[in-house]
């Protein structure tokens, strides 16, 4: 409401400023000429100065003076004749134009693109009261770290959050910073290596392998690192060595270890006669399972909720907020293909050009879901 009052005041103030000159009593306009007279007078002055200073000869000065004087006389004659009769009209039409044009054009154009419902959202204010906006919480932590880049514990806390939000490159950096400041530990090394693997679409890169090797040298019984090292061997095509590594890992694990089934599946795949494609690159689920090697699985419950949400949206696709929650949840669960699929479905309902579509795309960019192909 205050906004509309201010809009009204602003419009009225401008209208008054424009109408005031129209209300003044009109007088006669003196035509030009007087200005020319001033210029020629000044030219004569200048000639006099130049002559006195010896800059031009007296002969030249005389000729010039005659020329200027001729123009001066002509201009003076002009100045006398040029009067125009007064236009004492009331300019009703002009006043109407001002009064109508300002609010009409102003409101039409403004309402076409303006968002009077949206408050300003300065970052500092959002940081002070983040609510449950995860990206703002992250931003807050980032701000803190930008001021205190030496806070290793901060990097350590932030790193897994980055992974969950799909900001893998930042996660790699955060793990590296934590390791640099607090010293290398299996968790920090493994976390960084895992983020690198996700960045490489499941390939255990050279860099990741070296990190795992370092991790194993720190803690030889680290099952996560040993699993990935075995996987690296498998991806390189060294099936025998990979199988041996998996078997050693299985042998060294307690009988009820949650990762045993995954390891055994790999062993089975490698033992099989044909090269089993399923044992090649790990699926997203494999990576999720591998993460369980160090953390409890809390995702089961969330996954159930997400499924019911997805079912609800299939029935009622007009729920924009529901779509946003669903996309976010998929990213948190690290099910990025599903997140992308959900985005694509949502964009069918809310075209990319619409306000809601843009909202969805902004969310996608925030969560670094690729938007190249979904938007077309």
């Amino acid at each position: 409401m205050l906004f509309w009052i201010l809009v009204a005041i602003l419009t009225a103030a401008v209208a008054v400023a424009l109408i005031l000159p129209l209300l003044r009593r009109t007088e006669t306009v003196a035509a030009g000429g007087s200005h020319d007279v001033a210029v020629y007078r000044d030219q004569l002055e200048e000639l006099k100065r130049d002559e006195a200073a010896g800059l031009i000869g007296s002969g030249e000065a005389e000729i010039a003076r005659a020329e200027v004087a001729r123009r001066l006389i002509a201009a003076t004659r002009n100045a006398d004749t040029g009067t125009i009769d007064p236009a004492g009209r009331r300019n009703r039409l002009a006043q109407a134009v001002v009064i109508l044009l300002l609010p009409a054009l102003g409101l039409c154009l403004y309402l076409a693109t303006g968002r009077p419902d949206l408050p300003s959202q300065p970052l500092a204010q959002r940081l002070a009261d983040p609510g449950n906006d995860v990206s703002i919480l992250i931003a807050k932590a980032e701000n803190h770290l930008a001021r205190n880049p030496g806070d290793g514990a901060g990097w350590e806390v932030l790193a897994p959050i980055y992974v969950r939000n799909g900001r893998l490159e930042d996660a790699v950096n955060a793990y590296a910073q934590a390791a640099r400041l607090l010293g290398a530990s299996p968790e920090r090394l493994d976390g960084r290596a895992e983020a690198l693997i996700m960045l490489a679409d499941g390939i255990v890169t050279d860099e990741a392998r070296k990190l795992f090797e370092q991790s194993v040298s720190l803690a030889p019984d680290n099952p996560r690192a040993r699993y990935y090292l075995a996987l690296a061997l498998e991806q390189e095509g060294d099936r025998d060595a990979a199988r041996a590594a998996y078997e050693a890992l299985a042998k060294g694990s307690p009988a009820d270890a949650p990762w045993l089934s995954l390891v055994n599946r790999h062993i089975a795949g490698l033992s099989g006669e044909t090269a089993d494609t399923a044992a090649g690159n790990p699926t997203a689920a494999d990576i999720a399972a591998a993460q369980d090697m160090s953390t409890e699985d809390r995702g089961q419950m969330i996954a159930g909720m997400v499924e019911s949400l997805a079912a609800k949206l299939a029935d009622d696709p007009a729920d924009l907020e529901g779509w946003q929650r669903l996309i976010r949840s998929y990213v948190v669960l690290d099910q990025r293909p599903q997140a992308q699929a959900a985005l694509r479905t949502a964009l069918k309902r809310f075209p990319a050009e619409s306000q809601n579509g843009r909202t969805l795309l902004a969310l996608a960019r925030d969560l670094s879901i690729p938007v190249e192909d979904v938007g077309q």
Binding site: A352, L361, V371, E372, G375, Q376
Partner: protein, 149 residues
Amino acid sequence: MTRKQKRLVVIGGGVAFLLAAVLLVMFAFSQSIAYFYVPGDLQTENVAPGTRIRLGGLVEAGSVRRGEGSTITFTVTDTLATVPVTYTGILPDLFREGQGVVAEGALGGDGLFVADTVLAKHDETYMPKDVADRLEAQGVQLSGKETIK
């Protein structure tokens, strides 16, 4: 000389000057224009070795080799054909494998393109327009090019 003649002389001088300038521009054009090609063009069109051209395309992944000192060789591709390029000097900051590039120079007799200037794309969303147009015309999917803005 009468006033009229004088005026003619002045106007004639001006026109002569302009004529000279036009000739100068045409001469300079004939000397210093470089045509733009992508590697595929070089196979179909006959470009004489030594002619100054601009070669655009993508830097083929894995093709960048550092030689003696600051000499670098790499391959420019439009996915239809490739052209080897050699360049001595400092590459632009944004020169990367798999990204758009424009090299200016001339073809040697042996098919090696000797570049004296190498321009890379200038920011994340900008690809040299020539390159983008031509590659798109040939149906090449551009990597890293944002389609939503």
